[in-house]
């Protein structure tokens, strides 16, 4: 077996280079130079407690917060150890019934506001950290009344955490839910203090 030695030596050596040396080098350099990103962009509150990753969606149900999209990650949604979409096809009755029911609820809780597709259709990862500006705008009046803040303030906070497409045409305009909610809390505190 003249093949055996080259095959085994190269397989093990190249596996070690690409499977250990390379990822560990990248890990070391990242932890040194880019610790915030390397560890998942975790945001902290004023007292330093971790409140979530800027990149990973979370469940928000209280009226004073922006609500995220629906999630199929884990049995109750937003389980960040079990990413998943619904994988329901476009003709699936389960999807059509669910979207209709959600639209009915939104028509009641956000009367008069337009319903954006991302408000009733669920994300691919189940962990989408963003919503569309239309979805956020529809929620603004509910948030303003729950917090006793002027609608203009809520809209300003949302606008401050809205990001446009890269280079003007790559990707979509989006509102980061966690960042906006942290800023809404800050705005409420500022009003109380003021």
């Amino acid at each position: 077996m003249r093949l055996l030695r080259p095959v085994l030596v190269l397989l093990l050596a190249l596996s070690a280079l690409t499977g250990l040396v390379y990822p560990l080098t990248v890990t070391g350099l990242s932890e040194l130079a880019l610790p915030f990103q390397a560890q998942g962009e975790v945001l902290r509150d004023a007292r330093g407690r971790a409140v979530g990753s800027r990149l990973i969606g979370q469940a928000f149900t209280e009226a004073r917060y922006l609500h995220p999209r629906g999630s199929a990650a884990g049995p109750t949604g937003y389980d960040a150890t079990a990413s998943s979409g619904t994988n329901l096809g476009p003709m699936d009755a389960r999807l059509i019934v669910r979207v209709a029911a959600d639209a009915k609820v939104l028509a009641r809780t956000q009367p008069g506001a337009a319903i954006a597709p991302d408000a009733v259709e669920w994300s691919g990862s189940g962990l989408d950290p963003d919503i569309s500006p239309q979805n956020a705008a529809a929620q603004a009046p509910r948030i303003a009344s729950a917090r006793g803040l002027p609608l203009e303030t809520v809209r300003r906070v949302i606008a401050a955490h809205t990001e446009g497409p890269a280079l003007g045409f790559l990707g979509q305009t989006r509102v980061n839910v966690l960042e906006a909610n942290q800023a809404l809390d800050a705005a409420s505190r500022a009003t109380l203090d003021g």
């Binding site: 050596a13 994988n87 096809g89 003709m91 028509a107 962990l127 569309s132 003007g168 045409f169 990707g171």
Partner: protein, 573 residues
């Protein structure tokens, strides 16, 4: 649909083509054994590897020796990966103390990564330790890509040879592709991905308390280092279950652009390198043009399909006063929307990558149908790294043969006479795929043991079955994710389909390369069909569409076709 969406599609494809050029020039230097600017750093490593492995780099191999080296290397890689996955519980870097994979899943996953398919029957974040992700999967991401590049190099040399006997040395080709090409690019771009937000840590979990006081646990790990080779090597197996739709794998439009370009640029670069090494630059440009044109058409169809109305939004409009008409957002991320998801899906299904940034199962019937059709065209647009190029050459050989039959001349391609032997091998390679795909799909559609895993009945369920086997045979790896694929039937049959699709293709291609190399290289005669003009390009497109299309048309009509008309009926109500 907006001008922004169209601009994004055009820009992404254009950038891939632009970067393919320098990549191809560099790759050609590697294939010819010429010096590179990384030599001072890597030449000592390369020499040490050869002396340790008893490889004599200047010693060429004939086609059968070359093929044996490739197959043995991959078989050994399979056993190593299978062992790692089974013994995961006893290996280090396993902070969650995950157990070993059960035999069927370990078999399926090992085959999946060695064949460059990267079908995910497992959910990365809950099944695999950091050691398995790095030493097991990341390394095979490199080595399966290097295997594809090596076979492409051998085929390119076959065309350049004049009564040649050898095709180069497989061990040298695999080593050089890994050391000089894949590793340096990945090192740089992994760090760029980290800077843009992709995590890279040896931790496995981060606990947080939300603003509402609830607990959330984030799965995390060495994501960036695997993400870039997953795309660059057209592998596609994600760190997480949701693959590149997961915000840690693909946090924003910039990472999305890098990951898209990475999965096409190197495959196109292999064709450019072939043009240089095989002394056929203009012919190579035609192949690149055909690849890009067909991916562009697919992306446009996907964008249109995913921007069209769906029954779900129609039912919402029936219950609420004002529903914005918009793209089909089920299974899509807000940061990507319809356009990014469409161009990614066209590129990933054309390239045998199989990574996804949106859930294809939730696409409209035509959108999912285009994705399925792209895989069925044979993973040559531009196909996997290396493998897309040699698949395309098989198509080109068939195209000149058919043209030769029509005008009654002996067909030639790139100065080589195409005769019975080459055509037999080309036909063997292209026939194996539909036989395996349709055979397994037909069996699965009839057997209760298989049907229990299918998520829904009717045409959508049929598409789910077809997609799974197409993805396996085409070594793509993307899925209609509703299928519960971790059962003995699916783990087993899909693994067999993946092996047939990879090695059942490589073996006849190597034999064809051997036959071509042995022929004299002729000066183009007046009677030969020029392979560098629009006439040949349209002939080639015709052969690709007829071979890919007609074989599968009945199945496509019963799956996505029927579902599309059902949906139109529903919307018309």
């Amino acid at each position: 649909m907006t001008w922004r969406g169209w601009a994004e599609i055009a820009f992404t494809l254009g950038l891939s083509a632009a970067l393919a050029w320098p990549l191809g020039l560099y790759l050609a230097r590697l294939w010819r054994g010429q010096s590179t600017w990384l030599d001072p750093l890597l030449k000592p490593v390369e020499r040490a590897l050869y002396s340790l492995a008893a490889v004599r780099p200047e010693e060429g191999q004939g086609w059968s020796a070359y093929a044996m080296a490739i197959l043995t290397f991959n078989a050994a890689g399979f056993f190593l990966l299978y062992g790692i996955l089974r013994l995961q519980a006893h290996l280090p870097l396993n902070p969650l103390h995950l157990g070993g994979l059960h035999p069927a899943l370990a078999f399926n996953t090992a085959v999946s990564f060695v064949t460059n398919t990267n079908w995910q029957a497992y959910a990365g974040e809950t099944t695999l330790s950091n050691a398995s992700q790095m030493f097991g999967l990341t390394s095979q991401n490199f080595l399966s890509a290097a295997t594809g590049i090596a076979v492409a190099a051998a085929l390119a040399r076959a065309f350049a040879a004049h009564r040649g006997e050898t095709l180069g040395n497989a061990f040298v080709d695999i080593t050089r592709a890994t050391l000089y090409l894949l590793l340096p690019i990945c090192l740089v771009f992994a760090l760029i991905l980290v800077a843009l937000g992709t995590p890279q840590t040896l931790a496995a979990r981060v606990d947080v308390t939300t603003l509402e006081g609830a607990k959330q646990t984030l799965a995390i790990g060495p994501v960036a280092s695997q993400e870039i080779i997953k795309q660059l090597g057209t592998n596609g197996g994600g760190f997480f279950n949701a693959n590149s739709a997961h915000p840690f794998e693909n946090p924003n439009a910039w990472t999305n652009l890098i990951e898209e370009v990475a999965m096409n640029a190197l495959s196109l670069g292999c064709v450019i390198a072939f043009g240089i090494v095989g002394l056929a630059r203009r012919e190579a440009r035609i192949l690149v043009g055909v690849m890009l044109a067909l991916v562009g058409v697919a992306a446009a169809c996907l964008y249109a399909a995913e921007s069209s109305p769906t029954p779900a939004l129609a039912s919402a409009a029936a219950h609420a006063a004002h529903v914005l008409s918009g793209p089909n957002m089920e299974g899509k991320e807000v940061r990507f929307g319809a356009a990014s998801s469409a161009v990614w899906t066209a590129m990933t299904t054309g390239a045998s990558d199989g990574g996804v940034n949106a859930m294809i199962e939730s696409f409209t019937p035509l959108g999912g149908g285009v994705a399925l059709f792209m895989i069925k065209l044979g993973e040559i647009l531009p196909g996997g790294v290396g493998s897309g190029f040699f698949g395309m050459v098989v198509m080109a050989v068939l195209a000149v043969f058919i043209a030769g039959l029509m005008v009654g001349r002996t067909p030639e391609y790139l100065g080589k006479k195409i005769e019975a032997r080459e055509v037999k091998f080309a036909v063997l390679a292209t026939l194996l795929l539909p036989v395996a795909l349709l055979g397994f799909a037909a069996a699965a559609a009839a057997l209760p043991v298989a049907l229990r895993s299918v998520s829904t009945a009717g045409p959508h369920g049929l598409t789910e079955i077809l997609y799974a086997y197409a993805s396996a045979v085409g070594n793509n790896g993307s899925a209609f994710g509703g299928l519960n694929a971790d059962t003995p039937w699916w783990d087993g049959t899909l693994a067999i389909a993946m092996m047939l699709g990879r090695f059942g293709y490589i073996a006849p291609v190597m034999a064809m390369a051997g036959a071509l190399a042995a022929k004299p290289r002729l000066e183009p005669s007046a009677g030969a069909l020029p392979a560098d003009g629009p006439q040949f390009a349209s002939l080639l497109v015709g052969v690709i569409l007829i071979l890919g299309g007609l074989q599968y048309f009945p199945a496509l009509a019963l799956g996505p076709g029927v579902e599309h008309f059902q949906m139109q009926q529903e919307l018309g109500r």
